[in-house]
């Protein structure tokens, strides 16, 4: 089993990386680009066979350690 965790900056936090990437995309001629947000992606390999237990455990870890809820949001996917 594997967990995928996507961490993104909260909307209220200024994201200079996202802004710079967006402007670079425009310079390259890509049209229709809205806001860009640069975050982090974590892949966690799990021994557990119980997806619900794994979700509970990783949800706690995301909140406590893997993301900082003051500045970041996270999305947890288990497969």
């Amino acid at each position: 089993m594997k967990a995928r965790i996507i961490i993104t900056p909260k909307k209220a936090v200024v994201d200079p990386q996202g802004k710079t990437v967006r402007s670079a995309l425009e310079h390259l001629g890509y049209s229709g680009i809205g806001a860009v947000h640069v975050g982090k992606y974590l892949e966690v390999e799990l021994d557990s066979a119980d997806p619900e237990a794994a979700r509970r455990q990783l949800d706690e870890a995301c909140h406590k350690f893997l993301s900082n809820p003051i500045i970041e949001d996270y999305r947890l996917e288990i497969e």
């Binding site: 209220a12 936090v13 200024v14 200079p16 900082n68 003051i70």
Partner: protein, 264 residues
């Protein structure tokens, strides 16, 4: 930034042991924490010991007790390589559990640069430090305004004096949500702000995009503070400024006058 003093090999630096504690010793007993990747720890010990004549010892991150300490310095550097987020891993080290307890008992704790980031991650200070607005690592002298002298970290700073102190960071942009910012202002927890040479809080004088030009804050109880600038790098005239001394001298004065009962 690299410390002026070279570290010999890995692991805890072999600093000379703290002088034996004595009830007759009037000096403040500082503990300077040391994480893998700390690099301003020796500078802090040097200033506290050799410039200010206090007792200071290094404390490795695996220690679970602070011993007989009057005040804790969480120094700058790149603890745990800044992996995941600055300060995110250091906050769970054994010594930080002891610092949590020390702070809960009213002990004085000052975080400098990475130390400020660690204290925010640990929840000992409000807010968070994010990537500089410019995306650049900024290493330069800035002007610092002391927003209130009513704290154990600012009580010796003349109200109208600007501090000339260097910064050296890539993630020093202070962020907190609007409710937290309002609370910080109402409770006068903003201690230091970036300003111009004319003491104005301008956009140009803000080196990293910090909200309200915040360079340092304290907790509600006023015994824990953090700032991004490096007072330990500006505590001797030889280095171009000794304004940073005022921060440490304020802590020493606060402990001497027993504004706060030392936490054992």
């Amino acid at each position: 930034m690299r410390s002026m003093e070279k570290r010999r090999g890995r692991g805890p630096a072999k600093a000379s042991p703290a002088p034996p504690a004595s009830i007759f010793d009037p000096r403040v007993n500082f503990a300077v924490l040391q994480f893998p990747g700390s690099n301003c720890d020796q500078d802090a010990v040097h200033v506290l010991r050799n410039v200010l004549g206090q007792s200071a010892r290094l404390l490795w991150h695996k220690e679970s007790s602070l011993g007989g300490t009057d005040a804790v310095i969480v120094p700058g550097g790149f603890s745990y390589g800044d992996y995941l987020r600055t300060g995110a891993i250091a906050r769970f080290s054994p010594v930080m559990q002891a610092v949590q307890q020390f702070a809960a008992n009213g002990g004085l704790v000052l975080g400098i640069c990475n130390g400020f980031q660690i204290l925010c991650e640990a929840g000992l200070l409000p807010g968070a430090l994010v990537r500089n607005r410019s995306l650049q690592f900024r290493c330069e002298h800035i002007f610092l305004k002391t927003a209130t002298t009513d704290s154990p970290f600012t009580n010796r700073t003349p109200a109208d004096k600007l501090l000339r102190i260097p910064i050296a960071h890539g993630e020093g942009s202070y962020f907190a949500d609007e409710a937290t910012l309002a609370e910080l202002q109402a409770k006068r927890q903003i201690l230091w702000q970036y300003c111009s040479a004319q003491s104005e809080l301008t956009e140009e004088s803000n080196p990293n995009g910090s909200l309200l030009n915040i360079a340092g804050v304290c907790n509600e109880r006023r015994n824990v503070a953090g700032l991004m600038p490096h007072p330990e790098r500006a505590s001797e005239p030889l280095l171009g400024s000794d304004d940073g001394r005022l921060v440490f001298e304020s802590m020493i004065a606060a402990l001497e006058t027993k504004h706060l009962a030392p936490a054992a």
